[in-house]
Symmetry: C2
Subunit: 389 residues, 2 copies
Amino acid sequence: MENFRYQNTTEVVFGKGQTALLPQLLKEYAPANPKILLTYGGGSIKSNGAYDQIKTALAGFDLLEFGGIEPNPQYSTLMKAVDIVKAEGVNFLLAAGGGSTLDGTKFIAAAAKTDSADPWDTILEKQTPVTDAVPLADVITLPATGSETNGFSVISKKEETKKLAFWSKAVFPKFSIIDPSFTFTLPERQTANGIADTFVHVVEQYVTHPQDCPLQDRQAEAILLALVNTAPRVFANPNDYQARANIFWMATQALNGWLNVGTVQCWAIHAIGHELTAQVGVDHGRSLALVLPGMWRQQRKEKGEKIAQLGRRVFGISGDNQDEVIDKTIARTISFFQSLGIHATRQRYGVSDAVISAVAEMIGSRGVKIGDRANIGKQEIIEILNLCD
Amino acid sequence: MENFRYQNTTEVVFGKGQTALLPQLLKEYAPANPKILLTYGGGSIKSNGAYDQIKTALAGFDLLEFGGIEPNPQYSTLMKAVDIVKAEGVNFLLAAGGGSTLDGTKFIAAAAKTDSADPWDTILEKQTPVTDAVPLADVITLPATGSETNGFSVISKKEETKKLAFWSKAVFPKFSIIDPSFTFTLPERQTANGIADTFVHVVEQYVTHPQDCPLQDRQAEAILLALVNTAPRVFANPNDYQARANIFWMATQALNGWLNVGTVQCWAIHAIGHELTAQVGVDHGRSLALVLPGMWRQQRKEKGEKIAQLGRRVFGISGDNQDEVIDKTIARTISFFQSLGIHATRQRYGVSDAVISAVAEMIGSRGVKIGDRANIGKQEIIEILNLCD
């Protein structure tokens, strides 16, 4: 284990009906008599019950609304919200919806407190540390990103075909209300995408070159084992509260930071996946399911030991021939994605040779190689994508 | 999963030499120009390097010292420290040592801010909620209690043969410095006790009547698997930094609260273990190793499914006969404790029939049955202890 510092101050408020606690949570975490901006996306919160419960809980509060944050939150949209925050003196942000809405709201929170005329440039391109932000919280309604208990935010700028991320302690939610009942009405596609996202979040923090972190390994395998064994339940019965609750908790735990303390992380699958989404619009979770096999095939030497370990400990694959175990693990992982209804191929998502070149060029142009060994550059990305199904 | 709320604001500062960060950590978490009381125990910190590193880091700070906190921190000793805190205007506490020192310091922090003339009575006997405490932090040097990232404190009053616990959000450390190098010089006995304590912390949150919490199950098994597989390394080479680091992290993670969110917990092994320590002075970790087999034997019906699951998933025990799997799991767990050098028998620890009666009487007299089913009373405790080796 390497030296590290870790802190996560977000209060998790989990379970049925917990939205009713909003007034007391705001009393604890928001300024007195807060001026709140409720942010949301396309309106799923108006059909899954979240919107009604929030409005009921916040009757009597000074509440503005900003809807329309996209599944890949767009910079131009978010800056409109920043204008409202500044003009109206909003001093607390409440994001209701999935990770896109929450990520977008984290960016609004940061951009509203910066003097920069171009927050895209300073925060996302230049990665200038964000040290101040409007306090925020969320009612998260989609298990996928784990954004509810971390300081990450991923923002898109389609005018430039870009999708970039930032992290800051200042944008950890003060509290996150996680009511799994809001997920009963999720389209199967989103349920599947969220599970794939959770799986690959774990992989990015675990399938790396070998480490001496036995607990973190076992904790990663714990999430994968629970996920693989529970996923069938949510498809068999979308209204199974316990199944939904367990799946949500796995998504949250996959990216709250515990898995990667003291160890190395890859994140190359996500880097490439983000570019694919920017280029061809493929859903985030599906982009990861496409890239993972290509990554494991190309990175077989560096990552082989961990891939085989995953295969043995998560999928129960046995055998002394390491190469065979690795092959079987890759196949078994693809089967898992397929069991979610995700059949990820380059053809299906329109990932042509031209797209592959564009993705490799975009990442390569940043001048920094990616992956846990920092050894994946333009050439490797082309190889990886050509090894995808 | 049941509804829950969870928050853990402690900043973990892990690794070699991290004590050097004390000045900047105090700048962030302590009052300006703090008046600090450094608390410690018998002096192990003067031989493991922690004291020197702390004094070096805090040169120039207003620092008082209070040593002598016992392995089972005594109320009377702690109240002397409370007097000093009040008389000297101490406004920050820094505990250096094991969980005993830290638990004792948490109590000092709470007692110093209460108007009660008898903090033992109000905080520990009556469990009056503690809502205010002197801010505190720690340099924890013994992997065992997990006190470094929770709000628990266990205090003893030998005049009354009592050992009681309290919990409060107000006594979570602001930060915890965890440098595994300080554990190289631990006597084998303490290393073993700490590992046993970690194991049983997990058991208390996992070996209960059946639940539908697949992730928490797997996370508990993750700690047990990692612990069982790593323990031999610290005995083989006490100066193996990575082994020490991994073992420390397991102890911390076992009781930071993540394992028990949304599920049930037992804590009856600890309740009985505490009484045994109060009665006959047996080390805490050893008291748990003694009680666990008796608990599992007496609670076979309620806990059998989880005992067998532990056996299968942690110890690799196979077979369709559930009773046999349970028996083998109990035997295998005893073997694990023995591999640490802990050979726990009633005879060895002086647990006579009279002691058993006293323990059962003490717990029974509180009028509340213990265990995850709240069904373990005086009679059951006698049965449990008579089923111990």
